[in-house]
């Protein structure tokens, strides 16, 4: 009885809808359902709401959705029992969840009765139009608390202000992420630990920048990570050298410094690599040799006085400021390697092999310690000091004006806005105190220390108009807008030009704003969109979590992982710089490689450490899904993970995260590794795992996507066999598309551009705004995507679309504190479950 009715209604509805749609040709097939046509361009908006079709659509929801999403079963924590399409705007948070799942075609799930494609398309478009129409009248730019400088922003701000390179991880605790990004204001919690960290950083940096003739002896250690290959020269080191360290070290004063190096050793305490005779270590300052020391092959940890495995230069004079220090091996002259073993990329898989005869493994450095200064002779000029001391008082009455000039210029840049007289006076008090203690330079150093510790530097306050009332929407000030713009595009504070435009009060003018934005996009500093935005969106930092099995993947070294990350950053920045359509992310037939990575991918003819654009010789790799960074970060130490790869594509590219695994599911690693004496492939083990029906209901959404990429091994190298068995990548995607290769997967993704484009926009907006994108932002997101169509979805259309949006340029005065809390944002999608 119940079933009969269902079928009848389905037929009736699809008939009715075909009439309503008006242009069946455009929607007659699946491709059109998922195609790029925007709701605004289909002519649907002419259909008045309240049309009988809304009731029909409600019936579709009751028939197809409510069977799982009802008050009792609450699948995905969602009940649609009381939902009505006509009320879609009132139910906006729910509507947005439905829109997302419908657009990626994940609902209704595979294996259950689905309405026709046309019906689903009409449903999702009607939902979008209803919500968007209401959004026109009830729009809000949203609100967030002020941001603080996170580690990378702090690092860039110091570099821009002083020309000083620092490692922020030395001072600041790690940043809390939310919705992919490290700049989301409301999770940037404050604490005494954090404040103490900013204070310590301010003191240290002011002292390094100005120089410190009274500096006490200190030790700085540069550690060489164990996963780092010590086979080849390191970047920045003299040519012809091998391994070691090459760093820019900031010396606080002219004086003598000791350089001490320690070396890896075997479990028995002998020098690792002791079979390689005649190795020497060279220490150089800015490429000039200051010490050359032989390595004693017979060193042992147990040598008297703890003198083994250590090289010390003794005091060496070095001038203040940043200097390039290299401590490297001078390799012995060797004939052609005639060895049964080729040198692996991962050159220290374990320490025992370094002492076994028959294996030519050279010694490996563990760390370099720079200790000093001793015997300080003064502080000579450095590029940083020249930048700070733009004037020098030659007589007493010039002192204060010169100090004021310096302090005011530095603070204006540091605060990213003009300085008030009161503020300058406050900083000059620090100058006077310091100058009274130890003269002019100490005065400047004290004022700089205060500037860097000031909340105006560390926080990005955004002022509110004086007469603003609760709930009111207002434009943020020009200087606040300038900061938003430059931290978005450059990950850095505004430059002189941008600050000048803001100071003149012109930046709120849309044309001026867009002109500045275009200028900044064309500037090389926009590379931050690759290194900051894309790196976080695409989760590149997960690469460092991978520590592949050294026996299976002996060539995986840190340098390779770094090259993979760099490849993706450069690739994304290339799309920005050349203003390419964003969907090329999936399809490009080129990438950016250096020798290490090209060799890894099996591409010949690429030499040297510089990255360059390289055409793929075959169609195995295309776009981001061929990048080692993506393939390796989703792998485990000893096998690929189609589940992780499928999850990555769903979450990161489509914006449709799969549900969490329920507890009490045996992990894949618990399935048999071998059967009848044969090692099983990852796929075979996965299939055993999926025999459990409760697992399969989710995994059928995830795994096929990942399986299509299973020709790429743990490290992203192409393979056709796994454990001796041919890799079988064929599967069927959740929407019925057969997949038999990475190319098929790319095609399947390109057939549904809308969710990809919207998800990209959501991420770009969250990063630009420093807050999670909420349901009430989605009409704006859809507008940006729709408007980008005429621009062929070029990157600039999205970037400028975000910049032009109200959310970027305006802010709403919160009605009460509580109202800023949104538990119903899109963020909650992460925990929605499809079963």
């Amino acid at each position: 009885m119940q079933e009969m009715r269902t079928i009848n209604v389905t037929v009736a509805i699809s008939g009715a809808l075909l009439v309503l749609v008006g242009n069946p040709a455009a929607h007659g097939d699946r491709a059109a359902l998922l195609g790029p046509s925007q709701s605004s361009s289909t002519g649907h908006e002419q259909r008045p709401f309240g049309d009988p079709s809304v009731a029909d659509l409600d019936e579709v929801i009751q028939e197809y959705c409510v069977r799982c999403h009802n008050n009792r079963r609450l699948r995905g924590n969602l009940s649609l029992e009381d939902f009505s399409v006509g009320m879609a705007a009132e139910f906006a948070p729910t509507s947005e969840k439905m829109i997302m799942k419908l657009r990626v075609g994940m609902m209704p799930p595979p294996g259950v009765l689905r309405p026709s494609a046309d019906t689903l398309l009409t449903l999702v478009e009607t939902l979008e139009q209803t919500v968007d129409a209401a959004g026109q009248t009830r729009r809000t730019p949203g609100s967030r608390v002020f941001q603080r400088l996170n580690r990378p922003e702090y690092e860039r701000s110091i570099l821009d202000l002083l020309g000083l390179e620092i490692d922020p991880a030395q001072y600041l605790p790690s940043d809390t992420k939310s919705a992919n990004f490290d700049n989301i204001a409301d999770v940037q919690m404050l604490s005494p630990t954090l404040m103490a960290a900013y204070l310590n950083a301010a003191s240290e940096i002011a002292s390094l920048a100005v120089g410190d003739p009274t500096a006490g002896t200190k030790e700085t250690t540069y550690r060489i990570p164990r996963l780092s290959s010590q086979r080849d020269r390191v970047e920045g080191a003299p040519y012809g050298s091998r391994a070691g360290v090459s760093v820019t070290h900031n010396f606080p004063a002219d004086g003598t410094y000791d350089f001490r190096m320690t070396f890896h050793y075997s479990p028995e305490g002998f020098l690792f690599g002791r079979n390689e005779p005649g190795e020497q270590v060279e220490v150089s300052v800015n490429g000039e040799r200051v010490a050359l020391m032989p390595i004693d092959r017979f060193w042992s940890e147990g040598d008297p006085g703890g003198k083994g495995l250590i090289l010390e230069t003794g005091p060496i004079p070095v001038r203040a400021g940043p200097q390039r220090i290299s401590a490297v091996f001078v390799p012995t002259e060797r004939g052609p390697v005639d060895d049964l073993f080729s040198a692996h990329g991962h050159s220290i898989p374990e320490t025992q092999i370094g002492i076994g005869y028959g294996i030519n493994t050279p010694p490996h450095m563990r760390d370099l310690v720079i200790k000093g200064p001793g015997m300080v002779t003064g502080v000579s000029e450095t590029p940083i000091r020249r930048r700070i001391f733009t004037c020098r008082p030659t007589q007493a009455d010039e002192t204060r004006p010169c100090a004021e000039e310096i302090v005011s210029r530095l603070a204006t840049r540091a605060y990213r806005r003009p300085l008030s007289d009161v503020e300058l006076d406050g900083l000059m008090d620090f100058y006077e105190a310091g100058a009274g203690e130890a003269g002019f330079e100490m005065g400047i150093r004290s004022a700089l220390e205060a500037t860097l510790a000031s909340p105006h530097f560390v926080f990005r306050f955004e002022e509110i108009p004086e007469d603003a009332v609760a709930g009111e929407v207002y434009r943020i000030s020009d200087s606040d807008l300038a900061s938003r713009l430059s931290f978005f595009l450059w990950g850095a504070p505004p430059d002189d030009e941008l600050r000048a435009v803001a100071n003149d009060g012109n930046l709120s003018d849309t044309e001026v704003l867009l002109t500045q934005a275009r200028r900044m996009l064309a500037d090389p500093r926009a590379e931050a969109l690759g290194t900051r935005f894309a790196a976080q969106w695409l989760r590149l930092s997960d690469l460092k979590e991978l520590d592949p099995d050294v026996v299976l993947f002996p060539d995986y070294a840190l340098q390779l992982a770094d090259a993979m990350q760099r490849e993706t950053e450069l690739f994304f920045y290339g799309l920005v710089r050349d203003d390419r359509p964003i969907l090329e992310l999936i399809t490009t037939d080129y990438t950016y490689l250096n020798e290490v990575l090209a060799e890894h991918y099996g591409i010949t003819g690429v030499y040297g450490e510089e990255f360059r654009r390289v055409q793929y010789p075959t169609d195995r790799r295309r776009g981001i899904l061929g990048h080692g960074s993506v393939l390796a970060q989703t792998s485990l130490a000893n096998r690929t993970s189609p589940v992780n790869r499928g999850k990555w594509v769903s979450e990161v590219i489509l914006g449709a995260p799969p549900p969490p695994p329920p507890p009490d599911v045996p992990s894949l690693d618990q399935t048999n590794v071998a059967e009848q004496g044969r090692l099983l492939t990852t796929r075979e083990r996965l299939e055993m795992h999926r025999e459990n029906p409760s697992c399969n209901s989710c995994h059928r959404l995830i795994d096929p996507i990942g399986l299509a990429l299973d020709n790429f091994d743990v490290t992203g190298r192409w393979r056709i066999r796994e454990n001796g068995t041919t890799v079988d990548v064929s599967s069927v995607m959740y929407n019925g598309t057969p997949l038999a290769s990475p190319a098929d997967l790319r095609e399947a993704l390109m057939a549904m551009p809308i969710p990809i484009l919207r998800n990209f926009t959501v991420n770009l907006m969250a990063y630009a705004l420093g807050r999670r994108v909420e349901y009430y932002d989605m009409p704006q997101v859809r507008t940006i995507v729709a408007d980008a169509e005429v621009e062929e979805y070029r990157v600039s259309a999205f970037v400028l679309g975000v910049i032009e949006s109200d959310a970027f340029r305006m802010r709403q005065v919160p009605a009460t504190l509580e109202s800023t809390e949104s538990d119903i944002g899109l963020g909650l999608e992460r925990q929605e479950m499809i079963r």
């Binding site: 490290d182 310590n200 563990r366 105006h456 690693d669």
Partner: protein, 466 residues
């Protein structure tokens, strides 16, 4: 300085003496003899607290693992056999070990359908609070005040730094956290108040600088303290001028900032007071940053804790050993699978491998116990004065359950703890009951309840013995 021999750990990365100085506020001779354990002398005896969390439960909390006694020994009372247990490495410190088995951390369970499956993104916040975190991705986080902070807030004001939070694994996971929970719930175990998470420091160097001051020499440290004092003083004025120009939500945030400023001022004054009253002692050089090796990292953190206790800079530490869902492989165990994967192991071999990881983790503790017992303060060792909690809010890592979780208490707890004891709580006893009793023993004897406690469950009480 302790030298490690025979283990081939990279000895040079450990804290080494370079001759800087820090004040020692209380000379050993100033402590009256025989006061240890006396109720009246708590403040003088300076109890210390270290709370250590491990995220993925234990093999012994699995039904089969429990039957094999992979965590809790078979016998209760004093005559227990550690041989099959992951606690075996603690055998030499048996008389400082109290095992409390069969308690539950039910506040980590899902309360609503939308919380199901998200245990990993919630349970770390529960360990020391025994409260149920509010599900939010934003700033409206809410759980409870953690027990280390209750103790620090009561007694921590006597030291320059009331408490310090440390972690071993990187917390900034790509993509953020999941299932509707803000990352702070996974990032930290210490909560100054239900809405005030405290960040944990991973870099031993940064922890050293916060504890003892940055700067190579005593003069440099002193100069920095002076400039920090005047900067903090000035900042208060700067911010109050700014207040009027900010929206109310921002003002609330600035208020919290000002509280932090005042707290830092108090700490600086505390250090000055210590310096003017005490004698200087040698301070080893600062550690060199985050080491590659897990063992080495843990040892450095233990060195720092011992050093901080010795110089009485702080008396409270919390330490997070791992991050939920961490795939870290521990080569020392010979188990090739990542930590999280292995916690989902079923079948005897898999659970055994997980047990190996548990045993490796527990095996790191004797280093701390050695250091503390070697350090005398008055007529007692620091180990006698310290209470060390070690446990997990997770029980069976595969089921994601929070019942019968691993939990042990080490050290003399300032004379309050009897070691050499295995206490099995009645079924359904909240871990909060044990923590409440421990808080009472630490001097917070006026506390009526803690987290979801239903009463105090004392692990020294003879009536629970068979």
């Amino acid at each position: 300085m302790k030298l490690i021999t025979g283990m081939h750990l990279p000895r040079r990365t450990f804290l080494r003496g370079v001759g800087a100085a820090v004040a020692l506020p209380l000379l050993d001779s100033m402590i009256p003899a025989g006061r240890l354990g006396a109720q009246t002398s708590k403040a003088l005896d300076k109890p210390r607290l270290i709370a250590i969390e491990n995220s993925h439960g234990a093999a012994g909390s699995n039904a089969w693992g429990a039957s094999e006694n992979l965590w809790a020994p078979a016998a209760v009372g004093r005559d227990f056999d550690l041989a099959p247990s992951a606690l075996l490495p603690l055998e030499p410190y048996r008389d400082k070990l109290a095992i409390v088995s069969n308690t539950d951390v039910r506040m980590a369970e899902a309360f609503a359908p939308k919380e199901i499956g998200a245990d990993h993104f919630r349970s770390s916040a529960v360990f020391l609070t025994q409260a149920h975190p509010r599900q939010t991705e934003g700033s409206a986080v809410f759980v409870g005040t953690s027990m280390d902070q209750l103790f620090a807030q009561r007694f921590g004001q006597e030291t320059p730094i009331p408490s310090m939070q440390l972690c071993i694994e990187n917390v900034d996971q790509a993509g953020g956290c999941g299932y509707g929970y803000a990352c702070v719930y996974t990032d930290t175990i210490s909560w100054a108040s239900p809405d005030e998470p405290l960040p944990m420091i991973r870099d031993p160097r940064a922890a050293f600088d916060q504890l003892f001051g940055a700067g190579g020499t005593a003069e440099e440290r002193a100069r920095r303290r002076r400039s920090h004092t005047s900067i903090l003083d000035w900042v208060t004025g700067e911010v109050s001028r700014l207040m009027a120009t900010l929206p109310s939500e921002d003002q609330a945030r600035v208020d919290r900032y000002l509280e932090n400023v005042r707290e830092l001022e108090r700490r600086l004054q505390g250090i000055e007071a210590q310096n003017s009253s005490g004698a200087a002692r040698e301070l080893p050089g600062a550690p060199a940053g985050v080491p590659d090796s897990y063992t080495e990292h843990m040892h450095l953190m233990f060195d720092l804790q011992t050093l901080a206790f010795e110089s009485d800079v702080t008396r409270v530490f919390s330490l997070k050993m791992s991050r939920d869902v961490s795939g870290r492989v521990f080569p020392e165990t010979g188990v090739p699978t990542g930590y999280h994967s292995q916690s989902h192991a079923t079948g005897e071999t898999g659970v055994r491998d997980f047990y190996e990881i548990n045993k490796y983790h527990v095996g790191l503790l004797p280093y701390l116990l050695d250091r503390l017992s070697d350090s005398m303060e008055g007529d007692a060792s620091l180990l006698d004065k310290t209470m060390i909690l070690y446990g997990s809010p997770m029980g069976d890592g595969n089921l994601h359950n929070h019942r019968r979780v691993p939990f042990i208490v080490l050290g003399g707890g300032n004379g309050q703890l009897n070691g050499g004891l295995h206490v099995k709580a009645p079924d359904g006893t909240p871990m909060a009951n044990v923590m409440l009793a421990l808080l009472h023993q630490l001097g917070l004897d006026d506390l009526d309840s803690f987290g979801d406690s239903t009463g105090a469950f004392s692990i020294t009480s003879p009536k629970v013995l068979p």
